[in-house]
């Protein structure tokens, strides 16, 4: 019995502690804690923890089990909501793409530094329901796991202490919660099923039927409209149906130009499509345009045209200020061009936005290089030391800078 009490205490403490941990691990902007997960979850998590703690204190096993059940249900809700209902998922995927780009740039153009998180995955997708659930699990951080473990432990302790009969209300609650979540998931499954049917029709050239199926899929799960591929495929069917004035069809056409390497034509078409499009297509197009600007800049940079590259990246940043990728490459290329003050300013801007330690370590190292060249040795040293502090594993670049090797 004493062990059971101890286990229950651990469960309650884990649940109470979980809101203060990160629940979502954004690649660049860092962990989002349970308390910041929006009003519905933000206050529910500590509340479940508090009730669970009180139930433990007053030895109310049934209430304790119920808290565990609600906690487990909340975890399931969080995951399904992030995968199917939260636009945040698309921002996270965009950040992930940007981070992959940043890491590629660093590997290629910066001095040696073996820093990339072992858990980082550059190939995250959101094209199917399975992809989105997998991606949602990938972005879930320690808080979620702690909350889930605490809740499951609470359920186990409660059931062990009271048995099934005494906990029938908790079982009813579990059934209700999980059936509800099943319905949430079923919408995603239905949408995926309809989408697959649309794909089948599109492959046969039955465009009208394909369109009907795609629209049904969108009705089941409107969030799939946030996916770039979804919009492209809808646009293709609109184009097949000769409804080329639709923004989504223009998006498809501009995307095709981009694939064919006609980037300027693509950008022009994108921009006019963005002018007519509404959310979420508008945001997708804007992100796409910014990414094309960045790619154009990278292409120029590879050719050695740093000036033109800077021009494209500045344009990307002006068009979409969330493009940290552009800010990052600018920091380094400003430095390469001898524009140290601008490099420092851009670096400071990046540091204010990013909470990724490895990214910030590289930015600090860039700052150190710029300060060094400005003969601000104390600031350079501070920046190098900050870089070392942020990334102490195989940060060869800093060993060289600080050690003078």
């Amino acid at each position: 019995m004493r062990m059971l009490r101890l286990a229950a205490a651990v469960a309650a403490l884990t649940i109470i502690g979980s809101p203060f941990l990160a629940w979502i691990a954004a690649p660049i902007q860092g962990g989002i804690s349970g308390a910041s997960l929006g009003a519905y979850l933000g206050w529910m998590i500590p509340m479940v923890g508090a009730i669970g703690g009180a139930a433990w204190w007053f030895r109310q096993d049934r209430v304790f089990t119920l808290c565990g059940v609600v906690g487990t249900g909340l975890c399931g809700f969080f995951l399904i909501h992030l995968a199917l209902g939260d636009p945040l998922l698309w921002s996270l995927i965009d950040e992930n793409v940007q981070y992959a780009g940043i890491m590629n740039f660093s590997r290629r153009y910066l001095p040696a530094n073996m820093g990339i998180e072992p858990t980082f995955r550059a190939d995250l997708a959101a094209d199917t329901l399975g992809d989105r659930l997998g991606t949602a699990v990938h972005f879930t951080a320690w808080g979620w796991w702690a909350f889930l473990s605490g809740s499951l432990l609470a359920v186990a302790c409660g059931l062990k202490a009271g048995g099934l009969n005494a906990n029938r209300w908790a079982i009813v609650a579990a059934v209700v919660l999980f059936v509800g979540e099943g319905f949430m998931l079923a919408r995603g499954v239905a949408a995926q099923y309809e989408w697959d049917a649309g794909d089948r029709h599109a492959a046969r050239g039955a465009h009208a039927q394909a369109m009907a199926k795609y629209e049904t899929a969108l009705r089941w799960d409107p969030r799939i409209a946030w996916n770039e591929r979804t919009q492209r495929e809808i646009g293709a069917v609109y184009a097949d149906l000769r409804m080329t004035t639709q923004p989504v069809a223009r998006f498809y056409l501009s995307d095709r130009y981009a694939r064919e390497g006609r980037l300027e034509a693509a950008v022009s078409e994108y921009l006019s499509a963005a002018g007519e499009a509404s959310s979420p297509l508008k945001e997708i197009i804007e992100r796409r345009v910014a990414r094309i600007y960045i790619d154009l800049g990278l292409a120029q940079h590879r050719k050695g045209n740093a000036g033109q590259a800077i021009d494209w990246w500045e344009r990307a940043l002006a068009y979409d200020s969330t493009q940290i990728h552009a800010a990052y490459v600018l920091t380094r290329v400003y430095f390469d061009q001898g524009r140290d003050e601008q490099s420092i300013a851009m670096g400071r801007l990046l540091l204010s936005r990013s909470r990724n330690r490895l990214l910030n370590a590289n930015v600090e190292a860039n700052l150190g290089d710029a300060y060094w060249r400005l003969h601000e040795f104390q600031s350079a040293r501070t920046a190098y030391e900050a870089s070392m502090e942020l990334d102490s594993y195989a940060n060869f670049r800093i060993f060289k800078s600080l050690g003078g090797t």
């Binding site: 004493r2 062990m3 001095p111 040696a112 820093g115 998180e117 072992p118 858990t119 199917t128 329901l129 399975g130 499954v189 995926q192 099923y193 697959d196 049917a197 794909d199 089948r200 599109a202 492959a203 046969r204 050239g205 039955a206 465009h207 009208a208 039927q209 369109m211 293709a236 184009a239 097949d240 149906l241 000769r242 409804m243 095709r256 694939r259 064919e260 990724n356 330690r357 490895l358 990334d391 102490s392 594993y393 195989a394 940060n395 060869f396 670049r397 060993f399 060289k400 050690g403 090797t405």
Partner: protein, 1021 residues
């Protein structure tokens, strides 16, 4: 039989239902055939070719002269462990996986041009022994359709080292390279397809001439088009492939199932040297899909919609073939294909018309883009349908087997004159051979020598079903005939005092020790010492020199501050048997051999002798244990004492009253373990959790003074060791990071480089360990109340958890000392499960049942030993995640220091200058001192020279001055006539030196020798 009757038979019913479900699952998989097959590499004319010196690498080159335009060309390559295929100076592709004869098939059609073409293949071994070999076969079809085959034979030229011409700008595989000085390749017989890792695609998919024509929606380019065709199959195909070339993105559906996917990349090659002949995500390609599971008898609808057809590719090209009962059916795009006509949105019904043939195939080779193998992915609806079929099939099969069980147990009950419950239990045991057969077949599916679809064949299912019927029939007959029924009850455990059994166990153990000793001592010095080993040898030399282990880093004397106890057994061996590789590695091998009886003893004392024997057998054949027994460093010694510590501690705590004697003995054993490798300090936390798992609610141990006495003893030693180590770091400054920084546990889980799965991947799921892990985890629920299993499992998982979260660096070898704990826990679990199952059919009076039980027990043990042994190559189990095989497979050869040193020794002249990566290895093998070390960034630690006699940094092993860049290098090269650069290990050298130095060496130097991960450059002369 009612539900009430079944209640006492819950476990029996579960066995029967699981057997039925598994049979249904296998049958369903066999019926659907959704596991892609592998295809043996068929060489007709090719022979293995090798370099004349039969070294571990060989550079092969063949010049092909093509007379005119070609229609099609393909090539199949196989090589020992790895190869890179070049065509006209560009990389076509590469494959690499240690201890495996890899293979690949490629389309060369778009890149072969008229005139001279150069094929280059570099084969490198990473396993030992044997030469690097390659086998190549291919053909190109000219404009007239005549096939011109080529194959690896004596006409191929070969070199043993990488060669360049034109000041390093012309590589050996370039068209302009003059290979006139190269010798002819040596042949080594025709390749045996069974010994080569099979291809993911039949060679026909590359070699078959196009069966279709380019088609389009109209004679002029148009917008997107959708093509469809009804393929009539006279029978369900056994295998089928399709080749699609269309403007991307396109949609392909077969019988309403949309196929998507990306390029197939089994070994996940990341970076390749040189320029690629094609980009991985090529816009133009002919994509090869396996569609065997999608086609059916009768009409099959194939539909493809492509993007606009006025782009690079014109229209659609599609063809394929299906094999049914040995007959091959081909199909392809032609005018019988229908095109959906684009319509206005207002019209709901789309119309179709015949496709237009664009041009006759074969006008130019470029008309069909390069073929690439695709890894298909299917939509949710298809996957759901498959899962539904599997579930239904499992349910039906489970129902049938269950009903059969009810029937046969009724007959047995009647004939044997026993109750239905007892008869049901006996009969349930007869189902276990089926599970063993299917489980064994399933495991073989992960072995690279078998097809992944091997388990899901009708003949395997038939064998399992036949086994079920035979065992059931045997039981029924035995129940019918009283003569087959004995009287005496079998002992529950064979550990009870039976003298002949005792002798059998001792004899079996002796056999294991003999085999284990042979495996560990055979070829003990075949591979050269690695740098860590040479490093330890330096300390042993210091021990002989001054009486304590130390080494010199330039002017600094550095006493050994970690692995303090490791040099002494080595020194003793060297004293007795001389200072050679065999003698130096002998203590490690002896620790490995001694662990066999120790693990037997521990298994026996914690569980029983069966567990001890099983654990000893698993340990004897485990590839990692053989590998580390041939390594003169700490892992084997640490493992031996860690196992001893774990056992002594268990003896101390297993009874209600703690045993002070065993407690202090375990403390002493822990100290020896810790001083063998301080990372084993995490064992302490494991022991604590193990104590909690054994004692559970009993907390009286906290008040036991001997516990605190033992803890105090350990604490003093640990503190003293750490203080000494820290103090020894003070006298000089180090730049860079390395393992020596790791002294105390740190909250590594807060670090961005934290990887929570590191030991899951590198230990628990490491190829042959996967089976042990699965057994342990599956058996935990059944055996959690068993103290021995609870203790070992808690010790194992808690130590791994602590190491994952609190050690900043991680490596495969760090967890190796827990290998014995994993083996013991799994072996204990196997026996507990077997006992539990045996309890189901307490077979007291039927001889047949005894035979069955003995068969099941023996087969289970053999299966566990085999699956965790070096005999199975279960590389698929972890998706080929250990390409090098380093510290994983016993035949992997990581770095050869010895052969390059001997080569240099034979050519070294007074006044030559030496630059090397691992100076002490060169000195050990060749007695030649290194002058410089090259390091571009502080990838490896360097030290400030405290004597101030040198203006340079010193490298950290022997203290030679560091060259930091190409200008430093040029400066020192100018001082000598001849300089040797020992790039051993070559992979580390490229990382340390940086591109500038490498580029300089390639231009000014010459590769004069190569071996495993080793190169020697000569500059000057």
């Amino acid at each position: 039989m009612t539900l009430r009757d079944i209640r006492p038979l819950r476990l029996s019913a579960a066995i029967v239902l699981v057997t039925g479900a598994v049979m249904g699952l296998f049958a369903s998989k066999a019926f659907v055939g959704d596991v892609p097959s592998r295809y043996p590499v068929a060489f007709n004319a090719a022979e293995w070719i090798t370099a004349t010196d039969e070294g571990p690498q060989a550079y092969f080159r063949k010049e092909l002269y093509v007379a005119g335009a070609i229609k099609q060309a393909w090539i199949v390559v196989a090589a020992t462990d790895s190869f890179i295929l070049y065509l006209n100076g560009k990389v076509v592709d590469a494959e690499a996986y240690g201890s495996l004869n890899v293979s690949g098939i490629y389309d060369l059609g778009p890149w072969l041009h008229t005139g001279k073409n150069v094929l280059g293949v570099v084969a490198r071994r990473s396993s030992y022994p044997g030469p690097a070999m390659a086998a190549v076969e291919g053909a190109y079809r000219d404009g007239a359709g005549i096939e011109h085959p080529f194959a690896s034979d004596l006409s191929w030229r070969v070199a043993s080292t990488e060669q360049r011409q034109g000041s390093g700008s012309i590589l050996w595989h370039a068209e302009s390279f003059d290979a006139g000085a190269w010798s002819s390749a040596k042949t080594a017989g025709p390749p045996d397809p069974a010994k080569i890792y099979s291809l993911p695609v039949p060679q026909t998919a590359f070699s078959m001439p196009p069966q279709g024509k380019w088609i389009r929606s109209s004679s002029i380019p148009s917008e997107r088009a959708a093509y469809s065709y009804d393929l009539i199959m006279p029978a369900r195909p056994d295998d089928a492939w399709i080749r699609v070339a269309a403007v991307k993105p396109y949609r392909l559906t077969i019988n309403g199932v949309t196929i998507d996917g990306g390029p197939f990349d089994e070994f996940q090659q990341r970076r390749l040297p040189g320029t690629r002949i094609k980009k991985r995500d090529e816009d133009m390609s002919t994509d090869l899909y396996w569609i065997g599971s999608l086609l059916r008898r009768g009409i099959n609808e194939i539909a493809v919609s492509s993007d606009r057809d006025d782009a690079v590719l014109a229209g659609l090209f599609l063809d394929g073939f299906a094999v049914s009962q040995g007959t091959v059916f081909t199909f392809g795009t032609d005018s019988t294909w229908a095109v959906a006509w684009p319509v206005d949105a207002e019209i709901s019904a789309d119309s179709t018309r015949p496709a237009v043939i664009l041009m006759s195939q074969g006008a130019s080779a470029e008309s069909v883009p390069a073929k690439r193998i695709m890894s298909p992915s299917f939509p949710l609806s298809y996957t759901a349908r498959l899962i539904g079929m599997l579930s239904l099939s499992s349910l039906v099969s489970a129902g049938i087997i269950f009903v059969l069980w009810l029937g046969t147990s009724k007959i047995i009950a009647a004939w044997a004159g026993v109750g239905r419950t007892e008869a049901g239990r006996w009969d349930a045991v007869m189902h276990l051979p089926v599970l063993l057969i299917l489980g064994g077949a399933f495991l073989l599916g992960f072995d690279v020598r078998f097809d992944p679809g091997f388990p899901f064949q009708w003949k395997v299912i038939m064998i399992a079903a036949a086994a079920l019927l035979v065992f059931k029939a045997g039981l029924i007959l035995a129940a019918r005939h009283p003569r087959a029924r004995g009287r005496e009850e079998l002992p529950r455990s064979p550990s009870g005092g039976n003298r002949s059994l005792d002798a059998a166990y001792v004899a079996a153990l002796l056999v294991l020790i003999a085999i284990g000793a042979t495996l560990r001592l055979w070829g003990l010095d075949r591979q050269s010492l690695y740098h860590d080993e040479v490093h330890m040898v330096n300390f042993v030399q210091g021990l002989f020199d001054k009486g304590y282990p130390y080494k010199m880093i330039g002017p600094i004397e550095r006493p050994l501050a970690t692995y303090e106890l490791v040099p002494y057994p080595i020194a003793l061996s060297a004293l007795l048997f001389g200072f050679n590789d065999f003698a130096l590695r002998l203590p490690s091998a002896l620790f490995g051999i001694m662990t066999i009886p120790l693990i037997y003893f521990v298994g026996w004392r914690i569980f029983d002798r069966r567990v001890g024997w099983l654990a000893a057998a698993v340990y004897t054949f485990c590839p990692q244990t053989i590998l580390w027994s041939k390594y003169l460093w700490h892992p084997q010694q640490t493992q031996f004492f860690a196992l001893l510590t774990s056992y002594l501690f268990y003896r101390a705590i297993r009874k209600d009253l703690l045993s002070p004697r065993y407690l202090y003995l375990s403390a002493l054993s822990f100290i020896v373990t810790y001083l063998s490798w301080e990372g084993a300090g995490f064992l302490l936390s494991g022991l604590l959790f193990g104590l909690l798992a054994v004692k559970r609610t009993d907390s009286s141990w906290i008040r036991e003074k001997h516990v605190w006495g033992a803890v105090g003893l350990v604490g003093v030693v640990v503190a003293a060791q750490l203080i000494r180590r820290l103090l020894q770091q003070v006298p000089y400054m180090v730049v860079g990071a390395g393992l020596s920084d790791v002294s105390l546990p740190t909250p590594f889980f807060l670090d961005p480089m934290y990887d929570p799965w590191v030991y899951l991947r590198n230990f628990l799921w490491l190829e042959n360990n996967a089976v042990l892990t699965v057994i342990l985890i599956c058996g935990l629920l059944l055996s959690v109340k068993e103290r021995g299993v609870a203790y070992l499992a808690t010790l194992l998982f808690s130590t791994l958890f602590m190491m994952t979260n609190f050690i900043p660096n991680s490596a495969v070898r760090y967890a190796y000392y827990l290998q014995t704990i994993l083996i013991l826990a799994s072996s204990g679990t196997v026996m507990l499960i077997m006992d539990r199952v045996a309890d189901v059919g307490r077979l007291i009076d039927i001889r047949w049942a005894r035979v069955t039980r003995a068969t099941i027990s023996s087969a289970t043990c053999v299966m566990v030993v085999l699956c965790s042994s070096l005999f199975l190559k279960v590389y698929r189990v972890n998706a080929f995640s250990n390409p090098s095989g380093m510290h994983t497979r016993s035949d992997a050869y990581y770095i050869d220091y010895r052969a390059p040193a001997r080569y240099l020794n034979s050519r070294y002249r007074e006044g030559d200058q030496i630059i090397s990566v691992v100076p002490n290895a060169l000195e050990y093998y060749a007695k030649i001192r290194t002058q410089y070390f090259v390091e571009h960034y502080t990838t490896r630690q360097v030290v400030y020279d405290p004597s101030e006699s040198s203006p340079r940094y010193l490298e950290r092993i022997v203290g030679v001055p560091v060259l930091r860049n190409a200008s430093d290098l040029q400066e020192v090269l100018a001082t000598r006539h001849r300089t040797w650069v020992l790039a051993v290990p070559y992979t580390l050298f490229t990382l340390l030196s940086g591109s500038e130095v490498i580029s300089y060496l390639e231009q000014q130097g010459k590769v004069v020798y190569e071996s495993y991960n080793a190169r020697i450059y000569l500059i000057g002369e």
